[in-house]
């Protein structure tokens, strides 16, 4: 058995179970073990908004998908190769996505009459032949787990909670992964409850041993997925929230400032509040405010006091912050506003991903209120983008909107740790006490950037008053003068527009700088667009990929670059928002390609759209990720 190892280039595994089955933990531990073995990977935690939806129901199903390989992985994979279904509801919700011939592992112990009913099955799918297209492995995981943890004396309910570790043990064996990191993690997590730690470890080992001793004979194949050949260096896995929080701390350090984060809990942005709250070692101050408005206002107050104010939320919370964003724009104070986008409008789909806050970011304030908007495209990218947000905020004395999304926030990927010492500092110079006879003017601007003076309260001689009322261009005092308002409005706009020349020129991610078709994307659609373009190019289609980080202002060369293509298509997880901005800015015939189902794009969907554009019939094959060219 041990010699029967099939080497695969990559595989997609999806763990699905009840909200209380611990699928997210199972997935993240499988991820850690996979990352440590050097495979490239992308993950997709897909869970309901309810903490514990009624047990056994389809709307309570929580899933974790991982795509890993010995080559570059850019998406979570269109269709799983392996589906682990811990109950009938998990099977029902996920089976349609399993690829034909894929491996299905089910816990038969949970396929009771009652659970089948709750999942809406009239017949047991394990018995009615409906799963004949898949290789199905039926195991009574519940029973095996109870057996494995018997000696630790847990109650039935607690003992059954070890089911996920039993399953993980089996999957780790199946993919030739190491159990040691999981054991270390369990011992640490349950250091105060050794009987729980030991039970989980016993379940993990039992699942592993079960698969290894082949009690199921040759039904279980063992796979080997090697390490990805990649740049030498030190790696770790990060989620977007983690990398973004580290990037903020790093950005503040490069600016020579302390971070004050004002935030209010909201899905899926809360992990950033949690991460920064655990970074007091770096002098980070976090303030869990009474509401979203207080959160941003405290951040603005902190910036007025000479720190770098940061606020983090998601769409509905960002809406509440609108007026305060205007205050930061009017008073020209640095501030970073992080939006971890989710499905909208209103409460929408709190745990599902969407890119539908782009209008809100670019246009969503009263008055002419321009603000830079930048977007991350992957978990690792968050680090760099966060630093860039800090740089722009302090250099241009402006709030900056950083767009990420629920998918990036929760997804993990391997990440080469950057050399922090090599990063270029952008230290802030505060205004000092003016010379004898000179008067301090808070709105005196630097010629190149149009950024105003920043004086820290406590500095003698720089006493000044600012506020949301229009200021005189010349003195910074209140002014209702009509010409002055025109001049200040123009100046605020010119200041932000000037940033276009201070950001890297837009490059082409894949393909040529001109041609028949270009796909223009932004944010977390990077992976599927990139893979679809690669597949289309392999079919000989003249298509390129441009992925935009700087949404407002666009890089100075973007208009000219896009003009070089005959057709422009904009795939977005919204109803066509970047498309509108591109049309507005460049009078460009940008075509939308939209998906707002709360799920990331599949490669196949984008590939089909490209083929349709070229009049090519959609082929029956399904797109899978391609290896690096």
């Amino acid at each position: 058995m041990g010699s029967d190892i099939q080497v695969l280039e990559s595989a997609v595994v999806r763990f699905a179970g009840d909200s209380g089955d611990g699928m997210q933990l199972t997935g993240s531990q499988f991820t850690t073990s996979t990352a440590l073995s050097g495979s490239d990977l992308a993950t997709f935690p897909d869970f309901p908004a309810e903490i514990r939806a009624p047990v056994g129901t389809t709307f309570g199903v929580s899933a974790f998908q991982i795509n890993f390989g010995a080559r570059e992985i850019k998406t979570v994979g269109d269709a799983p190769d392996v589906l682990v279904a811990m109950n009938p509801a998990a099977l029902k919700v996920n089976i349609d996505n399993l690829r034909n011939g894929g491996l299905l592992v089910v816990d038969t112990g949970s396929f009771t009459k009652r659970n089948l009913q709750k999942a809406g099955y009239t017949e047991n799918p394990l018995e009615d032949g409906s799963l004949k297209d898949f290789q199905t492995i039926e195991i009574d995981v519940s029973k095996m787990t109870l057996e494995a943890v018997k000696e630790f004396g847990l109650g039935n309910k607690e003992a059954l909670r070890c089911k996920n570790m039993w399953t993980l043990g089996m999957m780790l064996w199946m993919f030739s992964r190491d159990r040691a990191p999981v054991q270390v993690w369990l011992e640490k997590k349950f250091s105060k409850k050794p009987e729980i730690a030991n039970s989980n470890i016993a379940a993990l080992n039992a699942g592993h041993a079960f698969a290894e001793t082949a009690e199921l004979s040759a039904a279980i194949k063992r796979y080997q997925i090697g390490a990805k050949k990649t740049d030498a260096g030190l790696y770790r896995t990060v989620t977007g929230s983690q990398a973004l929080s580290w990037g903020m701390a790093q950005g503040a350090e490069l600016a020579g400032l302390q971070i004050v984060l004002g935030s209010y809990p909201i899905t899926p942005a809360s992990p950033i509040l949690h991460a920064l709250s655990g970074m007091k070692e770096m002098g980070v101050v976090t303030f869990q405010a009474e509401d979203e408005i207080a959160a941003i206002c405290a951040a603005i107050g902190a910036s007025y006091g000479g720190a770098l104010g940061v606020t983090s939320s998601s769409g509905p919370g960002i809406a509440l912050k609108g007026e305060a964003m205007g205050l930061a724009i009017s008073t020209e104070l640095p501030l970073v506003i992080i939006n971890s986008q989710r499905g909208g409008p209103s409460t929408g789909l709190p745990t599902k991903t969407e890119q539908s806050d782009l209008y809100q970011a670019v246009y969503g304030r009263n008055g002419d209120a321009p603000m830079p908007v930048i977007a991350t495209r992957s978990p690792g990218d968050c680090f760099e983008v966060a630093i860039e947000a800090c740089r722009l905020a302090v250099k241009y004395m402006t709030p900056v909107m950083l767009l990420t999304d629920g998918f990036i926030a929760n997804a993990a990927e391997p990440w080469q740790l950057p050399d922090l010492d090599a990063l270029e500092p952008f230290e802030v110079k505060f205004a000092g006490t003016p010379a004898e006879g000179e008067e301090f003017n808070p709105y005196k601007r630097e010629e190149a950037t149009l950024a105003r003076n920043w004086a820290k309260p406590g500095t003698p001689g720089c006493e000044h008053r600012i506020g949301g009322i229009e200021k005189s261009y010349d003195t910074g005092h209140i002014s209702y003068d009509p010409d002055n308002h025109q001049k200040m409005t123009d100046t605020r706009e010119a200041k932000i527009n000037g940033i276009a020349n201070d950001v890297p020129a837009q490059t082409v991610d894949q393909g040529n700088e001109n041609g028949n078709l270009v796909l223009v994307g932004w944010g977390s659609t990077y992976g599927p667009i990139s893979q679809a373009v690669k597949a289309a190019r392999a079919e000989g289609l003249d298509v390129s990929h441009v992925h935009i980080r700087y949404i407002h202002p666009f890089p100075a060369n973007l208009g000219e670059l896009l003009a070089g293509y005959d057709n422009v298509m904009v795939p977005e997880m919204n109803n066509g928002q970047l498309k509108t901005v591109l049309r507005d800015k460049y009078l460009l015939d940008a075509k939308p390609f939209n998906k707002v189902s709360g799920q990331p794009f599949k490669i196949q969907e984008i590939l089909d759209a490209i083929r349709a554009e070229f009049g090519v019939n959609t082929q029956q094959d399904s797109a899978q990720e391609q290896g690096a060219a």
Partner: protein, 337 residues
């Protein structure tokens, strides 16, 4: 070297033209502040006035200190962030009955609950002035205004009760025209470590003139105001013969006349500003005919540490113990060769 030079009211007066209506109560409060700050040893550079929106919130423009005129109701949040980033500053918050108790009620409540080390002055004129005279959350029932032509229906909020209910540890009340009383209240508020809340009865000459006349008019003030002094009996009245007594059967405060119905000075309550229950009853005083309104410090019980001090202490306990690099490079990492 500046320590040597004694600052004056003029040093705290900005070059901006004051734009309140002639006769507005705000002028008197401004003057009093400009006069009092030098007495407190305050410096211009370390003093910040933060305000929201409304007539009172223009205050910062007229002080030659640092100032931030923010947005409607949100000044407590801005001041909290300011204090967290720059804890040595002396932060004063200027708000009104609409700004602080209506649109910003939530923030005011939480800044008091947290005990952020700021001095909050709430100018209560029982009306929206800047938006031209609509009734406010402190307006008396029946107030006729552009939005309540037949008279307002909603009951009025008592700011002192609101503050005490929010967990404020310093609560005081004074009057815009009380130029002798007000400096003392400002001094106490300034000296208090934590959130200090001061309600200032203020007259809006245009939209709600004389709304406090039954308390503040010279002719009635002595009988309508109870000037509290810690450790002193609660005696008031033109003849200094009235007092406040605790009626055990009614479980309430009542007004007595010393020398009548067998009442003596021994029946009069002695003010203890650390007694929260007493403060709660004093907050209600003035609601019934014949009762005076309590003025001065109703309640002051300083905590060992203000919120801002505690936050900074917690951060400092960890600061520098680990670098970002330590954090990022620790845990489950692997090397690719």
């Amino acid at each position: 070297m500046d320590d040597m030079v004694k600052l004056t009211a003029k040093d705290f007066t900005s070059d901006q033209e004051v734009r309140w209506c002639p006769g507005c109560g705000d002028y008197a409060i401004l003057k009093c502040m400009q006069r009092t700050l030098p007495e407190l040893g305050a410096t211009r550079e370390n003093t910040v006035f933060v305000s929201g929106i409304g007539c009172s919130s223009r205050f910062p423009y007229y002080m030659d200190t640092y100032g931030f005129h923010t947005i409607h109701g949100r000044a407590p949040s801005v001041a909290t962030g300011l204090k967290l980033s720059n804890p040595d500053l002396d932060v004063w918050l200027i708000t009104g009955d609409g700004d602080g108790l209506s649109i910003g009620g939530n923030h005011l409540m939480h800044s008091l609950r947290r005990d952020v080390d700021i001095n909050i002055l709430l100018f209560n004129n029982k009306i929206y002035g800047l938006t031209k005279g609509q009734f406010s959350p402190t307006s008396d029932v029946g107030t006729k205004s552009p939005s309540t032509p037949q008279g307002s229906i909603d009951p009025a909020l008592n700011p002192i009760n609101f503050a005490l209910g929010s967990g404020a540890r310093f609560v005081a009340r004074t009057v815009d025209t009380a130029q002798k009383h007000m400096p003392g209240v400002f001094t106490r508020a300034h000296g208090f470590k934590g959130a200090s809340f001061v309600e200032i009865l203020q007259n809006c000459i245009v939209y709600n003139d004389a709304t406090w006349a039954n308390v503040t008019d010279k002719a009635v003030a002595a009988d309508a105001q109870l000037l509290l002094e810690n450790g002193e009996p609660m005696v008031f009245g033109k003849e200094r013969n009235k007092g406040i007594r605790f009626n055990l059967e009614k479980f309430a405060l009542e007004v007595i006349t010393i020398g009548e119905n067998g009442m003596t000075e021994a029946d009069v309550l002695v003010h203890d500003e650390r007694n929260l229950q007493m403060a709660r009853m004093l907050a209600e005083l003035g609601g019934n005919a014949g009762e005076p309104m309590a003025m001065g410090v109703l309640y002051a019980e300083q905590a060992e540490q203000s919120y801002t001090e505690a936050v900074i202490e917690q951060v400092n306990a960890y600061k520098g113990k680990r670098t970002l690099k330590d954090m990022m490079y620790s845990g489950e990492t692997w090397v690719v060769k």
